[in-house]
């Protein structure tokens, strides 16, 4: 792995970008290098109280870890239920023969992520070799401790049932049996010894002197307590368990993993020497890729088992590696991610790369819509209708609107432009009134297009300028019309992907879809609401305040019940909202109110001087808001905004309560009702929590990086 010293390309690019002003971190004083023993002495065993707290909490952590490991790896856990239902958990009933579409979507996101990180992200210096090698060794050590802590496997008979010991033949006469029988007394004794030692050292003044005795003595006692916790399990209870030797032999793969990680960390640590480990850096993404590569490799090598449900038959092959339909796509995904990241890095310094930035951000906004309506649904376009109606209408609006915008953005248009724009707005509003009363039958998208045109016409004078500027505005309008009409046509076309239920998919895909679309809807709404609430116009202020207070005051679950179950009753006959659309609307309305409050906080943090300065240079209200106030306000409100994003992502599990087949509902209710896995529930719940945690943790980490980059809290 090559090491690079930061990224030279980042600096020139950064100066051009208002959003990414990177500040040189203040030089911290160099910390002295401590040996492991010195570190322990200073941080964990520096006083009698510290020593005792360390001992007690180490034991508690070991106990909790042992409990979790034994729960996860117990013979009673039916992990087969989760493995067999893996695809079901993530996409519910999405048909397997169409699964390439799902992988295409994952691939598209991987390519976009890779390009964005390579091209846009300010990666900083990366991870130092010191930190990397320490983390590798820690991971190896944690696995080793885990292997030792886990209880020995129960013996299983030919039918897969756990073998119980005959009553009255406990292992009390063996060493492990004796430890088990007296474990509480032994642990109490060790704890008392710790207390006694702490007191003794205190009066001898050893702590003040900083001598090595406390850490050695307390450390030995901690190890002895851990040994009791481990050995105890080999003498335990009614179930016949394997011996220590065969337990360790069974976990050979894990020993191998621990040894490899530890050896890699150790090699880096001792191979580099103190100065080089501190001053050599690896880009964080390479570490991530390395971890990903290890996981993908394990799918090809390690017998995770192959479990599936194909054509009505349950397939269960514990000894084989995972199915080709799993490991091959993931390998491709990793390759795509790495390749696009490298491509992004290569393009970063070039002019082409700089030109790619805006389109890339636009692609992120477009991707959810395109992937959902064009790829996953595979719309069955009615070409007669497309050619006779859709394309002509799009062309008409592009041409008519383009001309209007070209004319209205003329620098000398003056009041005439304003009158025309207001007239357009009037027509657009009348159009909707007509729709309400059903006067002129017209396609809904024509009405929406007209409304959009009216809004752009109102804004046009802000972008007045010479020919090139006006041309750019026209091009943007035509692009908007093309994308908008294309998407509406896709939305109106029936899906060729046929699932046995009315939803296109469920499970984690629903969670992600609802969360993504909620944020896409709620962010603009939140910004508008925040602006309205801080507006000088009383009507906006009152309306926005009322909205925010109402939606913050209503429980989210009530909104969900209303939009998923009840809203359809209020719609005219024949109309109905799909569950996923209803849920998204409910979430968006709710999140918008919270986001608005977060953004309002940011707006209030923008100083008066900024407003006055922009007034002084003659900015209009729209220009001031878009270019001066909002960028600063949003930067300040990043931490609460990300908090809201994470909350929304996790709150999608409420869909289960509203009767939708989201991730949680499948794990909780559906799998446990399959007669093959009747009542198997804990495994699914543990797995679901783990996946939620991975996503929420990554979002939180990412927001911390953004905060650091934008200097939130420093300025």
């Amino acid at each position: 792995m090559t090491s690079t010293m930061g990224d030279p390309a980042a600096t020139p690019a950064a100066t051009a970008d208002l959003w990414a002003q990177e500040r040189e971190p203040a030089q911290k004083p160099e910390e002295p290098s401590l040996s492991a023993g010195e570190w322990l002495g200073r941080n964990l065993f520096s006083s009698p109280v510290n020593s005792l707290l360390t001992v007690v909490f180490t034991l508690l952590v070991l106990l909790a870890g042992r409990g979790l490991l034994n729960f996860t790896f117990s013979e009673e856990r039916v992990w087969r239920a989760v493995k067999t239902n893996m695809r079901f958990l993530f996409t519910h009933a999405y048909p397997q023969e169409q699964y390439a579409r799902v992988w295409f979507c994952v691939g598209a996101v991987a390519v976009l992520s890779g390009l964005s990180i390579g091209l846009l992200a300010k990666t900083g210096r990366g991870i130092s070799m010191k930190k990397l090698s320490m983390n590798l060794m820690a991971a190896g050590g944690a696995i080793a401790v885990g292997i030792l802590l886990r209880e020995p496997s129960a013996t299983v008979d030919s039918e897969g049932l756990v073998v119980h010991r005959e009553p009255g033949t406990a292992l009390d006469d063996s060493f492990a049996g004796w430890i088990d029988a007296n474990s509480l007394a032994l642990l109490g004794l060790l704890l008392a010894a710790n207390v006694a030692l702490a007191v003794w050292f205190r009066y001898q003044g050893v702590y003040l002197r900083g001598g090595p005795e406390p850490r050695t003595a307390h450390g030995v006692l901690v190890l002895a307590s851990a040994a009791v916790l481990i050995v105890q399990q080999y003498g335990e209870g009614e179930i016949v368990r394997e011996s220590f030797g065969s337990a360790m032999a069974d976990r050979a793969w894990w020993w191998l993993a621990a040894a490899l990680l530890g050896a890699a960390g150790g090699a880096l640590w001792f191979g580099l020497g103190d100065a080089r480990r501190r001053n050599t850096f690896v880009p964080a993404m390479y570490v991530f890729f390395g971890a990903g590569a290890l996981m993908v490799l394990s799918a090809w090598v390690y017998p995770w088992g192959h479990y599936a449900f194909l054509e009505g038959e349950f397939i269960s092959e514990p000894g084989s590696t995972v199915a080709m339909t799993t490991k091959l796509p993931w390998t491709v995904m990793l390759v795509l991610l790495v390749a696009s990241f490298e491509a992004g890095r290569a393009l970063r310094a070039t002019p082409a790369g700089r030109r790619l930035r805006v389109p890339l951000n636009l692609l992120w906004v477009l991707a959810p819509f395109v992937l959902y309506w064009a790829v996953l649904r595979d719309p069955d376009l009615d070409w007669d209708h497309v050619l006779s109606t859709d394309i002509p209408m799009a062309l008409f609006f592009a041409a008519f609107g383009g001309l209007a915008v070209w004319f209205l953005a003329h620098p000398r248009i003056g009041e005439v432009g304003r009158v025309i724009a207001v007239a357009l707005v009037g027509v657009a509003v009348l159009n909707w009134v007509a729709a309400f009363f059903g006067w002129y039958p017209m396609l809904q998208k024509a009405r929406i297009s007209f409304l959009l045109l009216a809004v752009v016409a109102l804004l046009a004078h802000n972008f007045a300028g010479d020919r090139t500027h006006r041309m750019r505005l026209v091009v943007a309008w035509v692009a908007i019309m093309a994308v908008f009409h294309w998407l509406v046509t896709l939305v109106n076309s029936p899906s060729t992907v046929d699932t046995p239920t009315d939803a296109l998919f469920g499970g984690f895909a629903t969670t992600l879809t609802v969360a993504t679309f909620t944020l896409l809807l709620a962010f603009p709404m939140g910004v508008l609401l925040a602006l309205a609430r801080t507006s000088k116009l009383p009507i906006f202020r009152v309306l926005a305040t009322a909205y925010i207070e109402v939606f913050r005051g209503v429980p989210l679950i009530t909104l969900l019940f209303f939009f998923v179950l009840i809203f359809n009753l209020f719609l005219p006959g024949g109309m109905s909202l799909t569950d996923i659309a209803g849920a998204t609307i409910g979430f968006a309305l709710f999140s918008a109110a919270y986001l608005a409050e977060n953004i309002r906080g940011g707006l209030q943090a923008v100083r008066r001087g900024q407003y006055e300065a922009s007034d002084a240079v003659g900015f209009s209200t729209v220009q001031r808001t878009l270019f001066i106030v909002l960028p600063q306000a949003l930067r300040v409100s990043i931490p609460p905004l990300v908090g809201q994003v994470i909350a929304t992502f996790k709150e999608t599990s409420l869909l289960a309560v509203a009767g939708m087949f989201d991730f949680l509902r499948i794990a909780d209710k559906v799998i446990s009702a399959q007669s093959e896995f009747l009542g198997v529930k804990r495994e699914g719940l543990l797995f679901v929590s783990f996946i939620y945690w991975i996503f929420a943790y990554n979002m939180s980490k990412h927001s911390q990086r953004i905060e650091k980059r934008l200097g939130v809290g420093e300025r």
Binding site: F309, A479, F523, P524, L569, M575, K681
Partner: protein, 388 residues
């Protein structure tokens, strides 16, 4: 120049985002129209969407009338069937998303009668809370979802009920090691910790039964029946109670080795007739659902199975079978708005009552012999009016 360029692009990006918001709102505006266009038998939504499947049924049905759900379904070409999706042996969702079970097969049977294709079903898994709303909003046409036929649901809630396909009833389950047997009575559980799931009528039923028997019990409730079973296995409950069909499923799958669970009393403490449920005042659709169920029962009586139905249609054993299978001129299926061979397709593609029952309920230990679900000739309650 490049300094001016950025804000403009950024503003346009914001605009585009707003457009897309409008587009997705447009979806909410437009989608219902699509639904309306495809659901309405006579499309009148202008040029928005072409309605396609109206021609195939036009010659079969003559008395087209507004608001007849049968016309809507036939025009749609697919039956929307509400199921539980998490009821063992009745409607289980398998790892590939498909529905299997007794209820799911009755959905398929109705689809086979309507379209000659048992796979023309769209299953909508529903919770107990949303099932009636789903029928009232037209999200599903029929419920095959373990719904007990009660007076209030038939009247106040505004449902109509088809013939009972499964006679269930609440029973108790306890360990044989605690001195219980299949012959135990409610009076034998005096002083026991009885567990069930909260918020259902099962709680009330067992309390009533205990009071009637003059005994005291300690009633504990849990959120769902998985937890109830879990606590029973861990000895936190002496007796658990719910519908007999669910108890048998639990016993078949979760009884630990070395233990024997027994279900009693032989006569359940409540009546839970389960069958198809649909919206009120839709007689023509109700007829189709009801007679699909009756056809499976009559076929069972006459020994017509999916294996021999082709022979039976070629050489009908009697006039009734000939009519039912569409092999006689005086068949009644055409009068119902169906194809003459509608029930032939039901038996061929799904099977008769006994086949459907045995396929799904025998593996979990529910047998017909001696239960209310035996045919009327064998002393049970499964009975169908004559097809003539």
């Amino acid at each position: 120049m490049s300094k001016n360029k950025r804000p403009l692009w950024r503003a346009l990006a914001v605009l585009l985002a707003l457009t897309l918001v409008a587009a997705s709102c447009g979806d909410d505006g437009d989608d219902p129209e699509v639904t309306a266009a495809t659901e309405a038998a006579a499309p009148e939504t202008g040029d928005e969407e072409p309605a396609d499947a109206t021609t195939t049924v036009a010659d079969v049905v003559d008395d087209t009338q507004d608001g007849d759900i049968l016309e809507t379904i036939l025009a749609r070409g697919e039956l929307n069937c509400g199921v539980s999706g998490s009821a063992v042996a009745f409607s289980e969702t398998q790892p590939d998303g498909s529905q299997t079970g007794f209820d799911a097969d009755y959905c398929r049977a109705v689809a086979a009668a309507l379209f000659g294709d048992a796979e023309a079903v769209e299953f909508t898994p529903l919770t107990a809370a949303e099932r009636f709303t789903a029928v009232q909003t037209g999200e599903v046409d029929v419920l095959m979802r373990n719904t007990t036929w009660t007076q209030s649901r038939d009247t106040e809630v505004g449902m109509d009920f088809g013939p009972t396909t499964y006679y269930d009833g609440q029973q108790l389950m306890a360990r044989e090691g605690d001195g219980f047997s299949g012959g135990s009575q409610v009076a034998d559980i005096a002083g026991a910790v009885v567990c069930t799931n909260a918020g259902t009528t099962t709680e009330q039923n067992v309390a009533d039964a205990a009071e009637a028997a003059g005994i005291e019990i300690e009633l504990t409730t849990f959120e769902d029946f998985d937890q109830v079973t879990e606590n029973f296995i861990n000895d936190a409950c002496d007796v658990i109670t719910t519908d007999g069909s669910a108890l048998v499923g639990r016993k078949a799958n979760q009884q630990p080795a070395g233990e024997n669970w027994v279900i009693f009393p032989a006569t359940p403490i409540s009546k839970e007739p389960l069958g198809p449920t649909y919206g009120q005042n839709q007689s023509r659709f109700a007829d189709v659902v009801n007679w699909t169920v009756y056809a499976t029962i009559i076929a069972d009586e006459k020994g017509i199975t999916s294996a021999n139905v082709a022979d039976m249609a070629a050489n009908p054993p009697d006039a009734e079978a000939a009519r039912l299978l569409g092999a006689a001129d005086d068949e009644q299926q055409s009068n119902m708005g169906l194809a003459p061979d509608a029930f032939y397709q039901v038996i061929l593609q799904v099977g008769n009552y006994d086949e459907i029952y045995s396929r799904h309920l025998n593996p979990v230990g529910l047998t017909r012999e001696g239960s209310a679900n035996a045919g009327w000739l064998d002393g049970g309650l499964i009975y169908a009016p004559p097809a003539r």
